[in-house]
């Protein structure tokens, strides 16, 4: 009997424990399913926030983005032997389709586009917010998507154009033509202007404004050589009465003077105690919100890059017989012997690791000052919260000068140029000057090229200017020493894309790669 009892008990145990199949149903408790998300204002807002979050990530504006633009311009030289290989390749023009900096920026822009697409495609599920509020959120996401495509198409040419998020692994698209991508960017930026406010309150500073959309649209038209339409958009910004040049040139690059009157769009970095978020996509709820630019560029930081001699010598200088040394030279760069750290420290040659520059024939150490925290700090590791200005009003005015000149309106163009030179802290003599006569369209163009370069140096604008002018055959001499025609106009489509996108063959690669 005892045996049977134990057996019965054991069999019951067996049946009870082993036959309940419902334990096989498990749902991930650590997240929300896609179907269940985007269904109210707060979720939609979070989804839009993550689009911005991608923009500020290490793979974009906090790091790789400024390297890609700057190293492809002629504004930069290697700080020394410590510039890492893929960056050095971009500087020397020896990069290929495997270049990681370039590949990373491509990847990051497409992740941003995917996040924006998911917001736009799923937004109809959210019904608890006013139509205008929802439209504004969507417009922000659409702006960031348009911005990404604008960047992609200007650097890579025609790229795959995803207007909706991809719902299956075989949803990859072939390259569109650059005209198709530009057309999408333009239609988007036209469509969202009405949904965007001109300004935000303090708590929402950093969000996309109407002015930003107009300015980006102007940039897009200019990149295509459509000056008439560019002028229309630029004038919207110019006449909005929202923006003005600030008196002090340097206020555009300091932490205390973010979101000033001159600022049209900034990527917002915020001090997080020296904690930099190395995650490529910028993920992590409590991750740092700083940029590593100061560390990469600063004289007492890694000093991976320094201004090129060609940039330094672009500035008007008394030593060369110019009427006045351009104050923006000293504002943009630190020279040995200059005070920093709120005047408490003096920069020495020994602190500046690496190469020297030659300015007006004098060999000396010069380091980047723009966007550097050195103005108020003396730390050897500096990451910080200085916002990266993506678009500022000075560019609007310079672009107006360019479009007016292209449209044959020379006096108006010169007037705009002189506004830039009249900034209080700059106060450079008006055009025409001995060096820059402005009687012909060609002369004005030369002055525009000069003024844009000295005004927006190190602001990731020069690269795009070169791309635009090269495309429109306006460059008199090619500024990039390594330049090889039918190759260096565009970046190569990243190898990862060629390898894994069944719609892109090796034959679709940009020429020369």
């Amino acid at each position: 009997m005892k045996r049977n009892l134990i057996l019965t008990y054991a069999l019951i145990l067996g049946v009870v424990f082993a036959c309940d199949d419902s334990v096989l149903d498990k749902t991930n408790p650590n997240g929300v399913t896609v179907d269940g998300y985007y269904k109210n204002a707060s979720e939609l807002t979070s989804a839009v926030t993550s689009v911005y979050s991608m923009l500020k990530a290490n793979n974009l504006v906090a790091r790789e983005w400024f390297f890609l633009h700057d190293l492809r311009s002629d504004d930069m030289a290697a700080g020394g032997g410590q510039l890492e290989t893929p960056r050095n390749q971009l500087l020397l023009g020896t990069y290929d389709s495997g270049n990681s900096v370039m590949g990373t920026v491509w990847l990051a822009y497409y992740r941003l586009i995917h996040r924006a697409n998911s917001v736009v495609d799923n937004s109809e599920k959210a019904t608890d917010l006013a139509a205008a509020a929802k439209a504004r959120l969507l417009a922000e996401a659409r702006f960031l998507r348009a911005y990404s495509y604008y960047e992609l198409v200007s650097m890579w040419g025609g790229v795959p154009l995803y207007k909706n998020y991809v719902q299956s692994v075989d949803g990859s698209l072939p390259r569109s033509t650059d005209a198709e991508v530009f057309a999408f960017v333009i239609s988007e930026l036209q469509a969202i202007q009405a949904d965007l406010p001109t300004t935000y309150n303090a708590a929402n500073q950093g969000r996309v404004t109407k002015g930003a959309a107009q300015m980006l649209l102007a940039r897009t038209f200019m990149q295509q050589g459509d000056y008439q339409n560019a002028k229309t958009e630029l004038l919207k910004v110019y006449n909005s009465n929202v923006y003005a040049l600030v008196d002090n040139y340097n206020d555009n690059f300091l932490e205390e003077t973010e979101f000033n009157k001159e600022s049209i769009f900034e990527v917002n970095f915020f001090p997080s105690g020296g904690v930099y978020n190395w995650d490529g996509d910028g993920n992590g709820a409590t991750a740092g919100t700083e940029t590593v630019r100061t560390q990469e560029y600063s004289g007492i930081g890694w000093r991976n890059v320094i201004p090129s001699n060609s940039l330094l010598n672009e500035f008007e200088h008394a030593a060369k017989g110019d009427a006045k040394t351009d104050p923006r030279l000293d504002d943009s760069f630190y020279f040995t012997g200059e005070k920093y750290n709120n005047g408490a420290s003096t920069l020495t040659d020994g602190q500046q690791n690496g190469n020297s520059s030659v300015l007006n024939g004098v060999t000396q150490k010069v380091s980047w000052q723009k966007y550097s925290l050195m103005y108020k700090m003396n730390e050897s590791f500096l990451t910080g919260g200085i916002n990266q200005r993506i678009m500022r009003f000075a560019e609007t005015i310079l672009s107006l000068a360019e479009v007016e000149n292209e449209l044959g309106n020379i006096p108006q163009a010169v007037k705009y140029l002189n506004m830039i030179r009249a900034r209080k802290s700059v106060s450079m003599p008006e055009y025409p000057t001995a060096k820059f006569p402005v009687s012909t369209k060609d002369q004005v163009f030369t002055a525009i090229v000069h003024e844009r370069r000295v005004e927006t140096n190190g602001e990731q604008i020069r690269n795009r200017d070169l791309l635009r002018w090269r495309k429109q055959n306006k460059l008199k001499t090619e500024p990039l020493t390594y330049f090889q025609a039918k190759k260096h106009e565009l970046l190569p489509i990243p190898q990862q894309e060629v390898d894994n996108n069944p719609k892109i063959e090796l034959a679709d690669q940009n020429p020369g790669y």
């Binding site: 057996l7 424990f17 036959c19 993550s50 500046q352």
Partner: protein, 1035 residues
Amino acid sequence: MSRWSLQIALILLPFNLVTAKTFADQQVSGKVTTENGDVLPGVNVTLKGSSVGTSTNPKGEYSITVPSESSVLVFSFIGYGKQEVTVGNKTQIDIQLVSENQALEEMVVIGYGSQKKSSLTGAVSSVSSKELTALPVISAEQALQGRVPGVRVVNNGSPGQAPIVRIRGIGSINYASGPLYVIDGIPSGDLNNLDPKDIESLEVLKDASSAAIYGSRASNGVIIISTKKGAKDGKLHVNLDTYFGTQSAWNKLDLLNTDQYIQYATALLGNAGIAMPGRLSDLNQPIYNGATQTFAQTHTDWQDVLFRKSPVQQHQLAISGGNNVSRFFTSAGYFDQEGILVGTNYKRANFRVNSDHQIAKFLNIGQTLTFSYDKTRGEQGFGGGRTLVMQAIRNLPYWPVYDPTKAGGYSSPTAADGSDPDNPLRIASMDVTRTQRIKLLGSLFADVAITSFLKYRFSLGVDVVTSLGSDRFPIYNDGYKSRTQFELRDSRTSYFSPVITNQLTFDKSFGKHQFNITAIADKQTFRSNTLNGTGYRPNNDIDQMQGVSNPSATSSLDESSLISYVGRLNYEYGGKYLLSGSIRRDGSSRFAPGNKWGTFPSVSLGWRLSEEEFLKAVPEISELKIRASYGQTGFNGIGSYAWQSLVSADNNNYVFGGNKLLGSYFSALGNTQLKWESTAMTNLGIDLALFNNSVTFTAERYNRNTDGLLLEVPIPNSLGYSSSPLSNIGKMKNWGYEFQLGYNKNDGDFKWNASVNLDITRNKVSSLATENAALFSGKNDDFGGFDIAKTEAEHPIQSFFGWKVDGIFQNQAEIDRYNALDGDDQTKYQPAAAPGDIRFKDLNGDGTINLSDRQYLGSFIPKFSYGGNFGGSYKGFDFTLYLQGVQGNKIYNGTKVIEQGMLRLFNAGTDVLNAWTPTNTDTDVPRAVSGDPNNNSKTSDRFIENGSYMRVKNFNIGYTIASKPLSKLTHNTITKARVYVSATNLLTFTKYSGLDPEIGVNGSSNASGTQLINGIDYGMYPQPRTFQVGLSFGF
């Protein structure tokens, strides 16, 4: 007693099958002992030709009544040779049973049971407890290296890091394809927590037919471990094992001294037009303010700074005993290994109680329980993907290790040095990443004999792990780099996994037909809770999370479950023809509804030719068996929720104004079609034993095909997903041969044995997602910045892939000639080439070098690997020599890239002194030029080296003090004593020029695809050479 399951029953229930009847005739009694004189209880004493029998009592004594003088008594006991004695007129018959070294009669533990080795039809290899404890290593996994053909073990990093174990090739592309470990019936994780000295037997189930009983987790093989049990001899056994050892690095790289460094820096920077760093022209400055020593007087060998002689020790006290009713095994162990690299160590304390009890004739209850605590401090520096070895190569020879004027006490080169290596000693000493684990692994089981042929077993096992991780990154300022806040991270993971098994076994013979049928229902659940906290302190005063700024805490929960039903039939006809078949049905929560269940069948056949009449006439052949098997297994080692597509909610942030908002995004596509990965394996085997089993030989051939490979689809980045969805795409093939040859000489004063094994494994990816899909891996900016390996169809997984060196450009004319190859000298062959740069091979002949000119450069998988064990004893002396090696594999020597790549200014290997110059043209080292404009350091055959090696893995000489005089001397306190000296990794024969040819997969966290960086030496933690002295006492 030839039927295997009855033998098992015998172990458990020595008396239950024996009935003592009384005869009035003649009483015979006696004592049964071993050849050493130890008494043997439980020996079966039967009257030949009848069912009459008895067994010996705890004192080894028996008494039996026999009907006549011509009666024959048969003495049998597992593990001992059977003896038959004709009674004659004796009333006292004492017997010495001789221990049987007939390997073929060994019992082999298989899934959910055990089987006589002679009845095996699958490919199962056993490893003895002696082999497992020969090396001073943490885990049984490490001890397995070179022991079993078909099992590849690669040590991987600092003490406590689990080695890479691959059974019969590689089973998965995206996942660590390690075997399933089943410890006392409980499927469990890695073996670090398990004291190898507690292991009684370890079996490797290599082919699908033996492993398929574990169904969906068996694709990568199964390792079954049984822990020790007490003896039933009525005695208490106390054993103390202890050893101390000292470890050191056996190899060193040849790096530049200060003078050589200056010479090199001058060339490197000068050729790139970069000014010399100020320091190099004035090394006569003090190394820090107030120091009397100058840089010129400082000669730091950073390898000597980092590597050290370090101790290793292990102690185990085991107490065991038992009688016919109960038996037990209790042990307590301590293991302590300091790594040969500063800042690494591993410690373990473990305790075990195993017992079982014969409650009633039909009921046996038992338990196993181990409690283990371990603490690992791992190698630092992976944060930036830079290993300590790499940092040691790069640091400057004139740079001092310490600087008391700096916060933290360490300094690093400054801007004046033009170089920015980290101080590796600072990293290794100050920064701490520590994991502590408390593991409890236990089981309870009850065996119920329903009838003599039907048994029921219920078992309940639990695997509980509490893991505490703590990372401490204190504030420092070494003059160049600094950390302004003390960063603290703590993590807690508690893992709980119960498994319940119900098993019915039918075992019965009908004439020559013998059946063994097993049915099992089994359920295991897994639950893991994780809590992570991070914070920053303003100073280093407290290393706990108190008063921290920016605190953050996250938690997560991970649950999955597995339900299984298993059936197995073993059939044997006349001990000659063997048939085995099993089927397992597994249901897992890890797959979408509709795909949760998978079925895994297997069948195997065996034919013991040696039992046939025509071979019985050949006495030299003691065993000849051929075996064939086929089976299907699965793999479900994916994440618990991989098929579900999720929004990563509130997982990032952006600051608007001054307000931080959290952001959510859609990171990965799900895949409701996700299903089991399935592996089909065929196996052919032959077992041969000659000359009374003194020579044994086994050969296997297998074919392993994986279909529906669980793979992250290599999607183009333009799709925008942060991670690729899993899909059942791709097929992979592994195939190979295994040989094992053994010889035993067990008589005479000089006994010796030898065994060698050889393993030939091949791997090929048959298909990936799409025809041209390829997975690239290994890219790391410090190591040239190019992909190093490629995985694509028709090639072995993760083969090295890069350019081929074609020579060095000797002059501009040669470069011009190459530029004009395609008829246009404006399109450059290599855009930045200058004399002294490497000329790569133009594979496609288009007159320019680009990504299309890369080709396959070899595989990390050895052409064959082998092990050899030679042991012998003469009177009290014994020795073993154990060799292990691999042949025909390639290593991508990243340390050579660091030594010779000349990318940026750091210290380098002495080879750079032989760099090309206009006057030194006969060299294979390209010119020194900072920035490497020609990409001389890109992935090429220049850094591919032969990874073959042969190691004297262990050499051990011991002396056992004869037990009788010892007992006398110690008044019976010590009954057994052995002392030994042993050397591990004594000699390594290799052409590899890095520190150590054993290259695993760690050392580069920023290389993409951590599974696909095998054999790339990013500065691998080298294996130590160890000398040890050990003592073993029995009380």
